[in-house]
Symmetry: C2
Amino acid sequence: MKVLVTGAGGFIGAHLLGLLRSQGAIGGRAIDSLVALDHRLDSMAGVITLEGDLACRDIQRRIAQLAPDVCFHLAAVPGGAAEADPLLSRRINLDATLDLFQTLADAAPRGRAPVVVYASTIAVYGSPLPDPVTPATPLRPPMVYGAHKLACEILLTDFTRRGLLDGRSLRLPGIVARPRAPSGLVSAFMSDLMHALAAGEPFTCPVSADATAWWMSARRCVQNLAHAASMDPGNAERAWPLPVLRLSISQVVHTLSRIHAVHGERLVRYSPQRSVEAVFGRYPVLDDRVSRALGLRDDGTPEALVRRALDLGYRDQAAPEPAWA
Amino acid sequence: MKVLVTGAGGFIGAHLLGLLRSQGAIGGRAIDSLVALDHRLDSMAGVITLEGDLACRDIQRRIAQLAPDVCFHLAAVPGGAAEADPLLSRRINLDATLDLFQTLADAAPRGRAPVVVYASTIAVYGSPLPDPVTPATPLRPPMVYGAHKLACEILLTDFTRRGLLDGRSLRLPGIVARPRAPSGLVSAFMSDLMHALAAGEPFTCPVSADATAWWMSARRCVQNLAHAASMDPGNAERAWPLPVLRLSISQVVHTLSRIHAVHGERLVRYSPQRSVEAVFGRYPVLDDRVSRALGLRDDGTPEALVRRALDLGYRDQAAPEPAWA
């Protein structure tokens, strides 16, 4: 089986490559070639690297030659950066993404629709969100990033209806813990909070202590992405939110304090910014029963979330991943 | 005020040009220049014609020079034609449409967001539809046409949120009575039925007698489009279905028979095609209260629908249109 990962040099992409290399298979089918695409990539044993811009014709030609059986499409201009440059967002998050879908469909052997696992976003929902969020919640993206992602969800579902692709869109929440480098994501503060307390450093939090957000570790996220490639999605919806832990900032601070033996409550100063609080501070209950029925999973507990997120030797890390260890 | 109508040579476009020419104003503001865009246009007094393809750079440049205050965007590859050529649908119904939105936004004087009345479609809803269809009905377009239209609705709403455009998307039902020439629209049978019975000719109907559809005359449709340009849309949704008459084929046949003094029940032979019946034969009740509250209107009665649709001298035709005569 030939597998392509776009955005492979990114935070989630690197985690996914690691998982796919250690598993060597998806849903019991061996991976014969694993191709990583990004602007810049370090060479990795067992991985074919492809450097370039998804919007370039030459890269689309290379993808057509590869004719992947499975594509994990993670490449994107992130939320904050997209809002600052909507034309760039359109070029990558919409146009190049739709070009990729077409390229994958055109390159596939007749009658074998490639599986496309598309990293969508909870930013397709509106703000403020109704409580709870359900599969019937109207989709009113509050930023251009979510608008482009939603458009691609709709069009990937249409490729699927036409039998050209086998699309599975997963709506990712803020994933932790990203490196502290600027990411262009407004939600990066969730990761920065974790790194600061792990290092015993003070942190100024742009949302209040009782702000609730949806949390998932990068390791759990990529387990879900890999699972999505082989699960039976049924015929109805082709876009689902990932199940999440809904935690307040103070719950996360409490968990971090216990694990790292620090006084998190003293290290964190709350300086809520209205715009950040409005979007990232009021996540309600998520009715994720449909996603769970498909076998998608959250991190389980706040402690497991933190340990996976900060690579603190949580037990599911060492060996190739058994089912939902 | 400068007004642009794209797709002005089409069935609805021609009706809209006629209305705008006779009204000479929109919402009390005089129209200083009325520009019609299409591949081919006859010259018309009081109308500046612009011939070309919306996807051409030169046409987008001409639109930028014009910098319209109001744009009615009707140009589209219709449903059946789009399904037969999804790449053409993407080029016109998605890419060129988004280019138009960007061109209009870029050309506008700072702080004056142009009004864009976008002809969307009831094909953004799924099939089968829940009964009733409400503002909370999930949008699952069953054809590529509806998928591209829905993507543009979402992105026009995003342009509106960013203050660059003042978008109003109207979801049009099948509009009657189109000329009998091939239109690429699967729903064209609704118009063909009207013309056939008006001429006393036999007609083979691709849906059953009790198939229910949503009906609107072209004249009522363009009154709604013009109204949408000046109504106060509020801040919440920016896409609405037009209010419709929900009529069975046999109700329409009965009305046509009475008006034209023909035996419609004998002229029509029912030969339901499964695919047509599935999409165009089961339209449920539409909860259009939000649209009505905005001042949008249906045709009122089956007789008014038929008389307006077939230009049978319904009284609102002769004079410049008073409000909802």
